[in-house]
Amino acid sequence: MKKHSVSQIIDGLLPVFATLAALVVGAVMLLILGKNPITAYGALIEGAFGSFNSLAETAAKAVPLLLVGLGICISFRGSVTNIGGEGQMVIGAILGTVVGLNLSGRPSWLVVPLALLTGFGGGAVWGAIPGALKAYFNVNEILSTVMMNAIAVQIMNYLLRGPLIDPAQAQLASKIPQTAPLDVAFRLPRLVPTRLHLGALIAIILAIAVYILLWRTTLGYRIRAVGQNLDASRYGGIRVRQTVVMALLLSGAFSGLAGVIQVYGLNYRMITDGSATGFTGSAGFNGIVAALFGQLHPIGTIPASFFFAALLVGANKLQRVMQVPSPFITGLNGLVVVFVVSSDIWRRRRQRKRQIEATQTAGSELSLTAEPGV
């Protein structure tokens, strides 16, 4: 039993090793760029963990990763590959922001929950569309969610440059694509005097909720059953199509919430830079990695998100200190994704080995008990 848990800890650390390996490759890249990688990564660690403030910053950065990651836990457990977190975040944020802008001056206890729910719902719709396309038209969800991302980004760029642009920006030549600011009263309260906001608490509570959903409810059971064996589930009377739609719908909803919380907790308005990941900062993709870090377990995704956020916050510091252009971070981020996904093979191998060992021990015990009777 003890050996088993040690083995599981090693499994849990695999993504960490994978990340370190990616950072080594990143160090080589830094060397080629003529920068000292040791100073660079020193800045990274200091930026992520160096002070109370940077720790809080890391935690704040972890919030969208955790929320998206929770959605990913749901969909991937159902064997539905949702790569649409980016678009779902954007749609959730747009709708939630529109609510806040239109209900300016109304009491915040009414507006903020309403906005969060709207964001949740918006993401749900944006996830349900590829879900329905997969369930009823057999459209590959990887492709459709990627397309839905692009569509969402274009809608955002159109709205933030046009109908929703901050009236102050519309006057200026710069025309930064951003909305007017939300009422000060609508801002999510801060947990400590840093940028860490209530969203962190919401995300952790929801992680527990997703755990309950997946392992203590019928819907969760259905999703996991469909994920493990589609044919058997169908044979067992599970409505597979509805389950697939629900898995993507819920997955999208969590990403939508991540988007709206980004607005109400951090930026206090919706803002982008015109690029594909301008609003999300790739959180819709990185949430997938965080969930894989956490082995698709909602509770495991909590520390995984924090760890991954530390990497991102630290990387920002690295970029500022070393004056490496910011695309370096995007590239490094990509490497980490590749390395983490690749490292999963060792976890699977070890898991299989444990299973074989378990059946062997069970088998020998069986033969021992059986022998006297023969």
Partner: protein
Amino acid sequence: MGDILTASFLIGILAGGIRLATPYLYAALGETLGQRSGVLNLGVEGQMLMGAFFAFYVTLQTGNLWLGVLAAMAVGALMGLAMAFVTVNLQAVQGISGIGFYLFGLGMSTLLFQMLVGTVETVSGFPPVRIPVLGEIPVVGEIFFRQNILVYIAFALVPIAHFVLMKTTLGLKIRAVGENPAAADSLGVSVSRVRYITVTLGGILSGVAGASMSIALLNVFQQNMTSGLGFIAVALVYFGGWRPFGVLLGALLFSMVNALQLRLQVEGISIPSDLMVMMPYILTIVALVLTTQRVRSPSALTKPFERRA
């Protein structure tokens, strides 16, 4: 508005459509090979961006366009090899590792551009080559036979890819590995080797797809200049039913829509450009709905293969 349907307007769109089909064709034909062997490479966009940058940079430095193409092929091959290693040896989830390669290519191509070039520069790209006789035919000549060399090669690759896939031993192996790797393996076909070949070839072609944008179509490099084209190319493979000629049809449909959209913008039709850019993606989803009903994907697509002892 009245002269919108004149002959020259239509010829302009059709000729533009043929030209714009080029990057789709290279990328989607390469992806077809990979998917036929069971590997979904979602990193095409990243490979294209790297190809586009290296082609542009090498051409800028040497003034030799073919060296530029060669550089794009080399970097595409490297990224293809990396993708093959990750999907074949490490059996990583294909969709997500592809996203990783996309982010890598997006970041690195921008970084290298900022550090090595910095400002907006242009190169003189591949010039149009007027094919003797054929190029003189009215209308048809203007549309088809006054294009640059990379356009001709792209279209020539369609029958070549078809021939390789359908009529050669390698093609048979590719299809076998994509349909039933265990059976192919038991007949002595090396599943990993075939997948290495297809994914690397796919990378090379994606690199050329990028080059066709930066040194033939637009003659500049910009951050994220492919803007989703690589992802659409992946979808085109589904749309084309995993057949080169089907892919050609899809590529033409998309490029014609693109050419029309660009032309309408030039004509000053007032539709916000952000919404116009959205059209190809919506079209992709509609196309997927219409096509995936009738064609079956390769059985082993996205499934890693492991020999059972």
